[in-house]
């Protein structure tokens, strides 16, 4: 069962935390687990510990790369767009759940978007979200030098940006504009962070030690955009009815401002 019983307290067992981390739970179970985690310090600490061990293990294994894995040849191109050191063909599990992701976004938005639709910004607690501009972008709004760039065409009208972890530094800039093709770029960092393009979103396999920043340019046809960090929704943007470009910045450290 999902929650194990230990004396007086019921907690999520470690195996289910791994299943949750890996996106292996059915939506109803995932929702139940996240509800529990939102109210249980013990389980959140356990999840952080499991993620710390998982990150450490992945990092130790990634240091062991045959040279071909770090220098892919053109005729071994990955079949899913990714940015980062690891290859997309390892990650096809991420593309298994587009319908589920879209459904999750729809469910979350149905529950949380109670404000007026036009340019509504619903920023949740612990991460700082700034509106950099709505309307014409400032002249100096030149993107920084990017280390990686990927373009893609999102499907549907909902979009999930899912960071696996908070970072030591870095921001996510979300630009919504009249573009047809979405693009994502990584700036700074050490090249170890990875963006995986899903059918209705992006997953960023980052590390808690990362200092990379990310810029995401999305078409206005996407009406509902959710930013999730370490399993928590930190911001949702609704662009329904929007007629101008807009740019938001989300702090990835999880620190509160002030």
């Amino acid at each position: 069962m999902i929650l194990s019983t230990t004396q007086d307290d019921r907690h999520v067992d470690d195996g289910d935390l791994i299943r949750l981390r890996d996106g292996e739970c059915p939506l109803s179970e995932e929702r139940m687990l996240r509800d529990h985690l939102a109210n249980c310090d013990t389980c959140r600490e356990n999840l952080e510990r499991i993620e710390q061990l998982a990150d450490g293990f992945f990092a130790a294994m990634e240091r062991v790369q045959p040279s071909s894995a770090t220098q892919p040849s053109p005729n071994k191109a990955p079949n899913v767009a990714t940015i980062g050191a690891r290859k997309a063909q390892q990650k096809h599990w991420h593309s298994r759940r587009p319908v589920r992701v879209a459904a999750a976004i729809a469910a979350v938005l149905a529950l949380t978007l109670t404000t007026a639709p036009a340019r509504a910004l619903v920023a949740a607690g612990w991460s700082t979200v700034k509106t950099l501009f709505v309307g014409a972008p400032p002249a100096s709004d030149e993107p920084q030098q990017a280390t990686s760039l990927v373009s893609f065409v999102p499907q549907g009208d909902a979009f999930l940006i899912d960071f696996l972890h908070t970072q030591s530094r870095g921001t996510l800039s979300v630009v919504v504009d009249t573009v047809n093709t979405a693009s994502a770029r990584v700036m700074g960092g050490d090249g170890q962070d990875e963006i995986i393009v899903l059918q209705a979103g992006l997953r960023v396999r980052n590390r808690t030690t990362s200092a990379a920043s990310y810029e995401l340019r999305l078409p206005r046809s996407l009406q509902d955009i959710e930013v999730r960090i370490a399993g928590r929704t930190v911001a949702t943007f609704s662009t329904a009815g929007m007629t101008q470009a807009a740019r938001w910045e989300v702090d990835l450290t999880g620190r509160r401002e002030g």
């Binding site: 791994i18 130790a60 030690t209």
Partner: protein, 165 residues
């Protein structure tokens, strides 16, 4: 897609997996080639998950003492020709790489063969269902097995993370 193309597509991940699994780049390269041999000799059914099939075969090859199997050196030479020069283990590998390999090997010695397979397929991005098929268990047991294995290695991982900061 013919066997050569299939092999080329999956070979980097397979080689990476086997290098970590065995802790020996040379053994990993040989086992990768033996997996190719199996692909040529007894290919999977069309509806099989080829990637999972290859990993199953490669893991079995390592466990089955394949080094004593000298049936088809000619085919092995053919497989070797598919490997690009940089795919092959570098005898002049740096001390740093050797150290990393040794750390990974010692880390994985703390878990069982089955846990090692599960962990390394997990690193390669396999779904729990695929991993379960390869190791012959149920999907629901994969998460608990990974968690248990991580706990077994926790002391070493913590030390690694402290050194890595």
């Amino acid at each position: 897609m013919n066997a050569d193309e299939l092999f080329c597509k999956h070979q980097p991940a397979l080689l990476r997996y086997l290098t970590r699994y065995t802790g020996d780049p040379e053994v990993a390269a040989d086992a990768t080639q033996h997996a190719y041999l199996k692909l040529v000799e007894s290919p999977p059914r069309e509806d099989d998950n080829l990637r999972a099939w290859l990993f199953t075969v490669a893991t079995n090859v390592v466990h089955d003492g394949w080094r004593h199997d000298g049936r088809a050196q000619r085919l092995l030479q053919s497989a070797e020709s598919l490997l690009e020069p940089q795919d092959l283990p570098d005898p002049q590998a740096s001390a740093e790489y050797t150290e990393r390999l040794e750390f990974a090997r010692k880390l994985l010695m703390r878990v069982s063969d089955k846990e090692r397979t599960i962990l390394l397929m997990w690193v390669e991005g396999f779904a729990h269902k695929e991993i379960a098929e390869v190791v012959g268990t149920t999907t629901r047991t994969i998460g608990p097995t990974i968690a248990r294995a991580l706990k077994k290695m926790s002391k070493q991982i913590d030390e690694f993370l402290r050194e890595d900061l």
